[in-house]
Amino acid sequence: MIEALRKKAEELLKNKTVSVVFGYGEGSTPERTRPVFITKPEEVNKLTWNKYCVYNLTTYLKRQETRKLGKPAIVVKGCDARTLIVLMKESQIKREDVYILGVSCDGVGDPLAEKCKACDVHTPRIYDDLIGEKGENKELPFDERYAELDEYENLSEKEKWEFWQKQFEKCIKCYACSNICPLCFCDRCIVEKNQPQWIDPSAHARGNLSWNVTRAYHLAGRCINCEECQRVCPVDIPLNLLNKKLAKEAEKNFNYRPGYNIDDELAMSTYNEKDNQDFVR
């Protein structure tokens, strides 16, 4: 698979289909990988693929430094490919401006990442080239996909509140969660708006709550649960728990999985007469 990937990357760079390949490279230890940005055909040997390729590289599509490199080919797993679909729906990238190198994936992380446990997109649902075997993507049932929430949902409202208060207390407002998130692409985040200052920037309980809740709300019905925010959080706040819960609510209410079907309209900004209206009294 690695050879096929390198060969394809070399070919794309050689005939100038793309100017850069976003991929995974070997890290400082065998259990690690790091993002690599290959601009020269002779450097494609830096590319690798293994079960440690946890990251969602689509986040580099939003960054000025990497955008400057020109049209990219990007290595994506099935889950990451869902991000691409959301980005296209939200007018952040055009389909023709990115070359998608889909990789078949049996799950990443050691031990297996939480996101891989109920994965039903082992083969990306959108790609220009597929590296590896095309597997069968059978959509898993709703309950199975959200099974990791069971324990949390059994908590009482009070317990949930206490749980989150304790978690958010730890937050140091480093914004790593929003920096890594491929869907946090605003030039100016609401937390940076200071006239008025909607969110208190200090790492204090009140500001921490506004920040974390706002971040989660802004991802509701958009987040594809790549778990990157949780992975990078230096104080181990289980951010994906919040994202996943909101994803579940969005799917339950609007029958919508972000980035799953390219033809689905964005749930959070599309009126549909079939939408659940029982909250209207």
Partner: protein, 681 residues
């Protein structure tokens, strides 16, 4: 900011002062709120002396901002802003704090009401301190109106507007104008023949030089805004060239498909596949019903163009028009694009079908009919030529039972509302029946008799006292068939007894419902509708013909159940509104519109172009703008608000994650100041 704010607290008689200590509110404002340099109370702020007080104090005290604590801004915001304008103050420096609807009316404890008022006024003061002066937006007006629906409401509105000297485009989805009124026999309370009074109006429409009529057509899309709507009309292919056809009737006489249920005759009579709905139809030119026409059915089956089918071409062959025949099987839908300044929606209603109630046979008894079906039976032009005969065997019914409130006032099966017309038309039906079947007897089951209207009460009493109809107060629990008879089981709640009537025919006074496609129409026009899918008026009392979308007006039963006089009155009201709108060359619009921020390079705008705002905007007011470098290359694509289209609803501002959109007069700074002025405890 140095703004001098004046606070004027209204007693509203005792509406406010009974549950709010208005003096204390004014005192607190003056003593404690920053920026308040004057505060007072007055019995009725909206009265002439009240407004004078406002004007005088603005001048005397040199006020640069005003808070009037009174009723809802929907009631008097304009009043107070207009008063302020006379002193030279910008109207958007005047704010209304609602301490009536959302405070005094909902609280009983004066201490609570007062405390809440103090909070509300403090919040509005904070907002006012950050108010900026805004100028009205001016837009040009296209002097042409669109009327949607050719029933009596649409006809009346179109004629009034056209008589006022403006062009009107009237769009009707059926083959003829006339609507439900054309189906009625005689009309209450005068019992004059419906067609006799309607058809002259229909002819007037056809002949009016200012009216352009599109029948068999539908409004496809509406863009633009008040004074400048862009409308696309779909002229459905009727397979008949209206310019060539003379309405000679040869074609529908030879049509072999003669057993198609006539919609106009509420399926009690038949029509042909090429047909005019009724003899007085306007235009009096036919349309081909493609579902039933043999030729079109054959073409569909063989998957060939209809003009290639040879199955039946009788209408074409008989058509006397030469050299080009008026029948055109290959005709296709045509889209007409028009610009109009105002729109009247008069799309009417739909009768609740008779198959909803299981206890009334769920539509399986032929002789249980709806009110509209009875109209056709009683109509001289109807399937029985005005004789009352049972649909099942054509016999004259000797015992007839009318059941009122079928669907109406029954939230479980139909609607929670009263359909308003049924009490009157049932009384009329009982009378017409008695006039036509002298020896017959009519029973009417009612819940209440609601005949409020000029000469209405007298009319219904006539049915009881002079025409001998037996009115029974109670509901019918069941109808079942026994031999040729229909057994009607009901209760007479006034005597407390069970009633069993062997009837020959039963007429259900079925509810008036919103049209099936009301939601689609509402979405096309961006207007609101209520829980029953009737279109919502802007204010239930004071703006009954305006829709929620400026420049679009409502007439007739599309807004709620109405009888003919009320419909006509509302249609004329809507027409007057349209004419007022079209009388000026330019319109002034509220400057409360959204704006997407623009900043110096290299940012240009904090908008990242996700276009959630564009998708949520109900008015299509958000556009995409490319910000270009000098060489013409696109640096970024961001949202922009078309001020002409924006109605200031604020959805875009609410949906924007980066807070790049703001609503003039409701800036983030203002809203933030309002929220922060609340003392949390």
């Amino acid at each position: 900011m140095g703004k001098k704010v004046g606070v004027f607290v209204c007693h509203c008689g005792t509406n406010i002062s009974a549950t709010v200590d208005v003096e204390k509110v004014a005192e607190e404002a003056k003593k404690k709120y920053p920026g308040v340099s004057y505060a007072t109370t007055y019995k009725y702020m909206c009265s002439d002396p009240g407004q004078k007080l406002l004007r005088d104090k603005i001048k005397e005290e040199g006020l640069t901002g005003v808070v009037v604590a009174a009723c809802s801004p929907k009631m008097h915001e304009r009043t107070f802003r207009n008063a302020a304008v006379k002193t030279g103050l910008n109207p958007y420096q005047v704010e209304v704090s609602n301490i009536r609807e959302q405070c005094s009316w909902v609280h009983q404890d004066k201490a609570v009401g007062t405390e809440k008022s103090i909070d509300l006024v403090r919040m509005m003061t904070e907002k006012t301190r950050k108010d900026t002066s805004l100028d009205a937006i001016k837009v040009p007006v296209t002097k042409r109106a669109l009327v949607i629906g050719g029933g009596i409401a649409g006809i009346q509105a179109a004629l009034d507007i056209a008589d006022g000297g403006n062009e009107v485009i009237l769009v009707e989805k059926d083959a003829s104008i006339g609507g439900h009124m054309a189906q009625l026999s005689e009309t209450f309370p005068t019992l004059d023949c419906s067609q006799c009074i309607l058809t002259p109006r229909m002819v007037e429409v056809a002949q009016h030089e200012n009216i352009k009529l599109y029948t068999w057509s539908q409004v496809e899309s509406v863009g633009g805004y008040i004074g400048n709507f862009d409308v696309k009309i779909r002229k459905k292919a009727r397979a008949v060239d209206l310019d060539l056809c003379t309405g000679c009737s040869s074609c529908w006489q030879v049509c072999p498909s003669k057993k198609i249920k006539s919609e106009f005759d509420t399926e009690l009579g038949n029509r042909t596949a090429i047909y005019i709905p009724f003899p007085q139809a306007i235009p009096s030119k036919p349309v081909i019903d493609k579902e039933h026409c043999l030729l079109y059915r054959d073409a569909r089956k063989k998957n060939i163009p209809p003009e290639d089918s040879k199955v039946c071409r009788k209408c074409y062959d008989v058509c006397p028009i030469a050299p080009v025949k008026a029948i055109d099987y290959a005709q296709e839908d045509e889209i007409v694009e028009v610009k109009v300044g105002a729109i009247v929606v008069a799309t009417g209603y739909k009768e609740l079908p008779n198959n909803v109630y299981g206890e009334y046979g769920k539509g399986k008894y032929q002789d249980v009919i709806t009110g509209l079906q009875f109209e056709r039976l009683a109509s001289a032009s109807g399937p029985t030529e005005g004789e009352i005969r049972r649909p099942s065997d054509g016999k004259e019914p000797e015992i007839i039972v009318f059941i009122q409130c079928v669907g109406s006032r029954d939230p479980a099966k139909g609607c929670s509302y009263c359909s308003k017309t049924c009490c009157m038309y049932t009384a009329k039906h009982a009378m017409l029946y008695k006039h036509k079947v002298h020896h017959g007897h009519a029973f009417v089951f009612y819940i209440d008799i609601r005949c409020a209207g000029k000469n209405y009460e007298e009319f219904s009493l006539r049915a009881i006292e002079e025409e001998g109809a037996t009115y029974l107060r109670g509901r019918v629990s069941r109808i079942y068939k026994k031999g040729e008879k229909l057994i009607v089981l009901g209760a007479d709640t006034l005597t407390g007894s069970q009633v069993e009537i062997e009837a020959d025919m039963v007429v259900l006074a079925s509810a008036m419902k919103a049209q099936d496609d009301a939601e689609v129409v509402a979405r096309t026009l961006s207007i609101q509708y209520d829980k029953d899918r009737f279109f919502s008026e802007l204010h239930p009392k004071l703006r009954p013909v305006e829709s929620s979308n400026a420049g679009i007006f409502l007439a007739g039963a599309c807004q709620g159940p109405k009888d003919i006089p009320e419909t006509v009155a509302q249609a004329s009201g809507a027409a007057a509104k349209v004419m007022a709108l079209l009388s000026s060359d330019e319109l002034e619009r509220e400057p409360v519109v959204a704006k997407v921020d623009r900043l110096p390079p290299p940012v240009f705008s904090t908008c990242i172009g996700c276009f959630y705002c564009q998708r949520v905007c109900p008015y299509g007011a958000i556009e995409q703008e490319d910000i270009k470098a000098r060489d013409g290359s696109v640096i970024k694509t961001v949202a922009r608000v078309n001020e002409g289209l924006c109605q200031g609803c604020g959805l875009c501002a609410a949906t924007c994650r980066s807070k790049s959109v703001e609503l003039a007069g409701f800036s983030d700074e203002q809203v933030y100041a309002e929220i922060n002025s609340v003392e949390f405890n």
